[in-house]
């Protein structure tokens, strides 16, 4: 009897253990990016490092940390401050790299994560909704969800969990990752003009995220060639030349989605070109623009931003849209955006769902630079945008096709 009891106890413990293991192994990146769940992420950072991180938030200095999500603890990750306009010491924007200190280490198959402080977005959800919409439209974009972030057990507020654009992201979205990836860094108002044969200006604008050890010539000559061709004088060969170095249709599609989203800080944004990454497949000269950092989407809440607003400023878009097929592609994608937004009330539902996920945690977020009332108002504004934007865009498309625009 006693032996039977022992067997039962041991068996029970084994089942519990097996269950725990199964639970642990069941965690996936899809769970992490489940937008219907408010995640909880805890970072453990030595108090001296944390003080330095806050004091030197303008620097990209990495500090060691452990990250805990559910029952998983990832040791020896690196954490650093990130962002441009969103950088601050109160509510740190953070980049978590799992393999910086431990070669080959992954978390749910990811080598890095961005913890977006949503510093510039009173609604907290623009970035996530915008990226979801890119994905809905078939455009490669980061997966995103929300989390309560704790650092050393102190609540830091609501953060966006953003899938970083890195080789793992490339493999997931483009099925290969051996090419050249660059992050664009805004320096000044640049609309894609040619900046000369010297590679230095391009080096300043484009930071390599892969192949960092290769020579400047290998890294930056293709980028220089891209903008030389974009600014080529001969209209007769312009398109052929550009299509040798750029996926022009992908570019037009990307701009169309951005414009539908009334993006103020994208490829045709208010501050010239910004918030994109550039990718060139290995062995190819053709480059792709990838969307990044969309917390200024849906800025014009009235939904009436014209579909050709500021698009003439961008050299590439301006010249490309002169081709009838590309213009039609642009309008078609805009039309598809409007349809996709209203289909099953997708856009409004997406906003409502994200808002409900973050609302309670946002109210408790004392580090955000907005009031709770502003948060509520912003969510209402986004709902209005979702309602107004499709019809306005469709009207604009109709006018454009009729030749009145």
């Amino acid at each position: 009897m006693r032996r039977l009891h022992s067997v039962i106890v041991v068996a029970g413990m084994a089942m519990l253990l097996a269950g725990a293991v199964r639970t642990a192994s069941a965690q996936t990146a899809a769970d992490l990016f489940d937008v219907g769940t408010l995640q909880e992420i805890r970072l453990l950072v030595n108090s001296k490092d944390l003080a330095l991180l806050r004091r030197n938030y303008g620097l990209n200095t990495r500090y060691p940390a452990d990250m805990i999500w559910r029952n998983l603890r990832v040791r020896n990750v690196s954490v650093r401050s990130r962002g441009f306009g969103s950088r601050n010491s109160t509510k740190l924007g953070l980049l978590i790299e799992f393999d910086h200190y431990t070669s080959g280490q992954r978390f749910l198959g990811l080598r890095s994560l961005v913890l977006d402080n949503e510093w510039q977005d009173p609604s907290m959800i623009r970035e996530q909704v915008a990226m979801s919409f890119f994905n809905r439209m078939g455009m490669p974009a980061s997966r995103e969800s929300f989390a309560r972030l704790y650092i050393n057990n102190e609540y830091q507020g609501v953060y966006g969990i953003v899938e970083n654009i890195d080789p793992d992201y490339l493999r997931r979205t483009l099925s290969e990752n051996e090419g050249y990836l660059y992050e664009f860094h805004w320096q000044d108002y640049w609309y894609g003009e040619y900046r000369g044969d010297d590679l230095a200006p391009y080096k300043l604008l484009f930071e390599p995220r892969t192949h960092q050890l290769e020579s400047d010539t290998q890294l930056y000559s293709p980028i220089r060639d891209l903008f030389r061709e974009i600014n080529g004088a001969d209209e007769g060969v312009w398109r052929d030349q550009v299509e040798r170095v750029l996926d022009l249709r992908q570019f037009i599609t990307l701009v169309a989605i951005e414009v539908y989203l009334s993006e103020w800080d994208g490829l045709t944004g208010n501050w010239a070109m910004n918030n994109f990454q550039l990718y060139r497949r290995r062995g190819s000269s053709v480059q792709l623009f990838l969307p990044w950092d969309r917390d200024r989407a849906m800025t014009q809440l009235t939904g009436d931003m014209p579909i050709f607003f500021r698009t003439d400023d961008n050299v590439l878009f301006h010249r490309a849209i002169a081709y009838a097929d590309l213009r039609e592609l642009y309008l078609t994608v805009l039309e598809q955006c409007a349809q996709a937004a209203v289909q099953d009330d997708w856009f409004q539902n997406a906003i409502a769902q994200s808002a409900s996920v973050v609302a309670a945690a946002t109210y408790q977020d004392s580090k955000k630079p907005f009031t709770n009332a502003e948060f509520d108002a912003e969510i209402q504004g986004l709902m209005g945008f979702a309602h107004l934007r499709p019809s306005f865009v469709l009207q604009q498309i109709a006018r454009a096709r009729s030749g009145s625009q």
Binding site: R75, Y101, T102, S103
Partner: protein, 489 residues
Amino acid sequence: MTTSGGSRLKASRLSRPFCAARRLGLAAGMTLCSPVVFAAAVEGPWAGIAALRFATQDSASSGSATAEPQAKDEKAPKEEKPKVDKPPKDKDKDKDGPVRFELVPHPSVRIGKQVQVDFRARVVEEVDQSDALSPTDLQFDKERRRVGIEGELLKVVVFQVSREMTGIDPWREAWVDYQQFTFARAQAGLFKLPLSVDENTGWTNQDFASRSLAANILAPGRARGWMFHGQVLNHALGYEYGMFDDDGHNAHTNNPDRVTGASTIAWRLTSQPLRHIKSKWTDLEVGYASTTSDLAEGFSSIKGQTTLGADFYTSRFLVNGARRRTSYELRFRPGPFSLKSEYIRLTEERLGESVEDTALSPLVATGWYVSGTWAFTGETKSEGLTEPIRPLAQGGIGAVEGAVRLEQLTFGSRAGFDAPAEAGSTSPRADVVLGNSDRVLTIGVNWYANRYVKLQFNLIREQLADPSQGPVPGQASLWNRVIRLQLGF
């Protein structure tokens, strides 16, 4: 008999303060007990003079060559008494008056019997070839020149000052030692901490072109400080205890981000347990040593380097607390053979350095070696080979010796050693750090043409556990070849 016995006696008495290893019976060519001195004392016309001479140039401590004189000395304790310490009369000496100059075996000034100052110099040329060097820098030459003086005052104070002629930290030895009593002596100045017989063996008596990795990297080397030392229990036990400003030259760094040990306590015990037994085992000696240093917060200054100085482990890890070293040593030299071995362990605390502000497991570095030599030409190892039985140009070819050493140097953290399957990390706050190790086999031939000329050939094979951290990423095995010529008096 009186002459030689008296010379040996005096040599022994004077030499002990100089060198830790000598005191421990491990000792060294740099002292009065050096084989050169000993030979001169017994055989030459400068027997009395030689008995007053000190050490080789580069170390206040020891060398393997002096143990035999010491052993003889220790077998006749009564010879240790100063009163019986009468050097042989030398007719030439009487003629020279109170101030005399000598040239052989090296320049020396003596004032009566109370003052002696010897002048020493050494030039080393070394040619290295290594896989670790870039193709354009496959071979490079190293040259070192050192000068110094050493001497005795009033027969109770000995001193040594030496420095390199180049380099940013040229001073090597600068110390005085009050040694009136065998059981309690006091030394102060710049000298080597009493840890590692290999580190404390002078270059003249080194069996290989480079010291063991354990001695070069884990032993502290020299520092400013003071030390009590002596021999007790009828020479059955030697002791050293001292305090130093830092934990030695070997751990120094010019990198302000890196920290080295501050105030350091060092001690060592040695014993020749069979010294009273008349057999080949008489020379057997064992020792244990330890140092403890304060360690400020920062990145450790200890790093792993290959035999020729290429990095294979750079500590990226924060330390804070204490740095401790322990070492076990053994030496045995029957006839033309010798066997020497050491194990050194260095730990560095990491108090409050985890991501949760708690202590991490200490960083651990261990080094060991086993080496053996054989004098093909028949010299007795314990008497040293710097005085060949048949020197070159005197009817012989000098002394020729073969040498083999196997060694390993390993870096990691205690948590990593406890969980070897866990992946190491380069995080400065990792509990399981990314370590590395280097296992080295050295085969060498040493040629002592005469007391002034020594030539060494070494063939070295190194095997890195993690070649990605080594000088040639991806290449685990490295071959080095070294030729080293030493001229000195």
